[in-house]
């Protein structure tokens, strides 16, 4: 068990290392000199001569060998120093610190809801196969993964925001400032973030549960006279959860990816929206940092999933 966790941790570390490499060098491949882009952003700098540019280059450490630049960047990132934004004229870390909780807030709602309801819907559809519940859940789960979330968001804004006037159409409020407003504003974006992962979870849970309840030990449990509830919850659930839990990390990544789109639709000041804005303002320090954060979250989620595996499936060979 311990060796497994250690090995898994090392693997995650390797993954993190590769991610920093990819993110850093992707940005270095950018067409054009970062200094020229930087100068282009600012009025007073645009009149700079060659000498001034050399000075700036030194200031940013761009005259050093690329490996030194990489190490400087990584050691900064570890201390949460992501460099300066050329568009907002402040440290990227400060901006991220403001925006990050927003994305985490909505992402957590979506992750919890999609996992919980996906599992419940999947179980119900499997247990009541070909009955009413299944006939509703299964087609919906097929449709749910096809919906373009940006379109769903706009559709909901039109219906619930503009026509029925039930919900505020855009914006974000922290639940600590105004709880009810925050919930009301979160409903539509969270539905958008949830739907894809929810549908995928429900589908997976259904097929996995169907597989499990066909097995001999479940028939044995039936013949012992247990009630259906006990059989499903105590015998079948744990085994059928295994394939579902495996992909939870992927689903979290899916939700985070969705936040890029959903935050843009609903004008929510999270890191997804920030990333899109920064691509257009060519604020590459921010694009870099946002990508890094998304990937790091997924790596940690996968790590937790892999380690928690043992609880669900003792057959897993740690070693």
């Amino acid at each position: 068990m311990t060796t497994y966790i250690v090995r898994r941790l090392l693997l995650a570390l390797f993954c993190l290392f590769m991610i920093t490499l990819i993110v850093f060098f992707a940005m270095r491949l950018l067409p054009g000199d970062p200094i020229i882009i930087y100068i282009g952003q600012s009025q007073q700098l645009s009149a700079l001569d060659e000498e001034g540019m050399e000075k700036l280059r030194k200031e940013f450490g761009l005259d050093k060998p690329i490996m030194v630049q990489y190490l400087t960047w990584v050691s900064g990132v570890i201390r949460f120093d992501f460099g300066d934004s050329i568009f907002y004229h402040m440290p990227v870390g400060t901006i991220l610190w403001e925006r990050f909780p927003v994305t985490v807030n909505l992402g957590l709602y979506a992750f919890v809801l999609s996992t919980l309801f996906g599992i419940i819907a999947g179980i119900l559809a499997a247990v009541r196969r070909a009955k009413l519940v299944d006939r509703i859940v299964t087609p919906l789960s097929y449709v749910g993964i096809c919906v373009p979330v940006f379109w769903l968001g706009i559709l909901m804004i039109y219906v619930f925001g503009l026509k029925l006037n039930w919900l505020p159409i855009i914006g974000y409020t922290s639940p600590f400032d105004d709880f009810w407003l925050s919930i009301k504003q979160a409903i539509m974006p969270v539905i958008c973030l949830t739907i894809g992962a929810l549908a995928a979870t429900a589908r997976q849970m259904r097929s996995s549960m169907l597989e499990v309840i066909r097995q001999d030990y479940i028939r044995t449990a039936w013949s012992k006279g247990f009630t259906e509830r006990v059989i499903i919850m105590r015998h079948a659930l744990k085994n059928s959860l295994i394939p579902v839990v495996t992909v939870l990390g992927l689903h979290l990544g899916f939700i985070l990816g969705g936040s890029v789109i959903v935050e843009t639709v609903f004008s929510i000041p999270g890191i997804g929206h920030l990333m899109v804005d920064s691509i257009f303002s060519q604020d590459y320090a921010i694009v870099q940092s946002c990508t890094l954060i998304f990937a790091v979250i997924v790596v940690f989620a996968n790590l937790i999933v892999d380690i928690s595996y043992g609880w669900l499936d003792p057959k897993v060979q740690y070693g």
């Binding site: 993954c15 993110v23 373009p148 990816g257 969705g258 789109i261």
Partner: protein, 298 residues
């Protein structure tokens, strides 16, 4: 079954020959919705091919006297903010969607299949390197990595295709590696080796054809997802440059005039959903018909 009058001849006779093609068709059309999916795909291909004839208006021609018109007999889906016919732009959008889908699927498949076969066939250090790199690639949320790549490469449809192709390669690598691992254990591979065949020959003549079914299934299932991703990227403003027609960008443009003329945004979104749904349905049916063992893994 279970009847008492079975004779021993029934057991010794050869099993009835199953016509593979008939079996394929029967399983493929098991769910009626597949017909609907196929119909949509045929229509989609038809629309893309004959867009020039089908479109009632020139999709790029602006008409400032007829901006933001509601649907009417002349303009079935209304017009956009510079007076272009929405239906015509929708029709031309099929070309963008299909081009991006097929070309990026082709790129993803070529990269993924090559690396996947190598990882599975050679094993050892090559396997470890390739599979660990795949893990890293999978750690990025798809759309985020595509955004990063598109930012690095610069917008434009070609770069979006390239970015999506790279991002989606991971799926093929995983599937191909798994398939290759099991195929290479077959005796015919050993026999071929004994006769002195090169690794390249075995990989291209034996491993690849035997992995044909899952490749086709992955491609079909991914096409829907690719079209969805391209739509998301073009919604965010990355991808095809104006005045080119892309469904995602059309949804975004319509969003600004949501109050006045909602159909501008609704119609292209519905088209995206329908097409993605069709690809998924056909992909699922193909999987069941070609190789039911893939259920649950793909």
């Amino acid at each position: 079954m279970g009847e008492s009058n079975t004779t021993s001849a029934d057991f010794t006779a050869a099993p009835p020959r199953i016509n593979e093609w008939q079996r394929f068709v029967r399983v493929f059309f098991q769910r009626r919705i597949v017909i609907f999916g196929l119909l949509i795909l045929v229509m989609l291909g038809f629309t893309a091919l004959f867009a020039d004839w089908l479109a009632p208006y020139n999709p790029y021609k602006q008409n400032l006297r007829k901006i933001l018109q509601q649907p009417s007999k002349e303009h079935l889906l209304g017009t956009d903010s510079v007076g272009r016919d929405t239906l015509s732009r929708l029709i031309y959008g099929t070309r963008t969607a299909l081009t991006v889908g097929f070309v990026s699927a082709g790129i993803a498949a070529s990269i993924g299949i090559t690396l996947g076969i190598m990882a599975g066939y050679f094993g050892g250090i090559i396997n470890i390197v390739i599979m660990r790199l795949t893990d890293v690639l999978m750690a990025f949320p798809m759309i985020v990595l595509a955004l990063l790549l598109a930012a690095v490469l610069g917008g434009g449809i070609h770069n979006v295709i390239l970015a999506l192709g790279i991002v989606m390669a991971a799926g093929y690598i995983r599937v191909m590696c798994g398939m290759t691992l099991s195929i290479k254990e077959n005796d015919y591979v050993l026999a071929e080796r004994a006769m002195g065949a090169s690794h390249l020959r075995i990989m291209t003549r034996h491993v690849l054809p035997n992995a044909f079914a899952p490749i086709i299934v992955v491609i079909t299932l991914q096409l829907g997802f690719l079209i969805l991703s391209e739509a998301a990227l073009s919604f965010l403003g990355i991808g095809i440059k104006p005045p080119g027609a892309a469904w995602g960008a059309m949804v975004n443009e319509g969003y600004r005039f949501l109050v006045r003329i909602p159909i501008l945004s609704f119609a292209p979104g519905a088209a995206i959903m329908l097409v993605v749904f069709a690809f998924n349905m056909v992909g699922d049916a193909l999987r069941d018909a070609l190789d039911p063992r893939l259920r649950g893994t793909l």
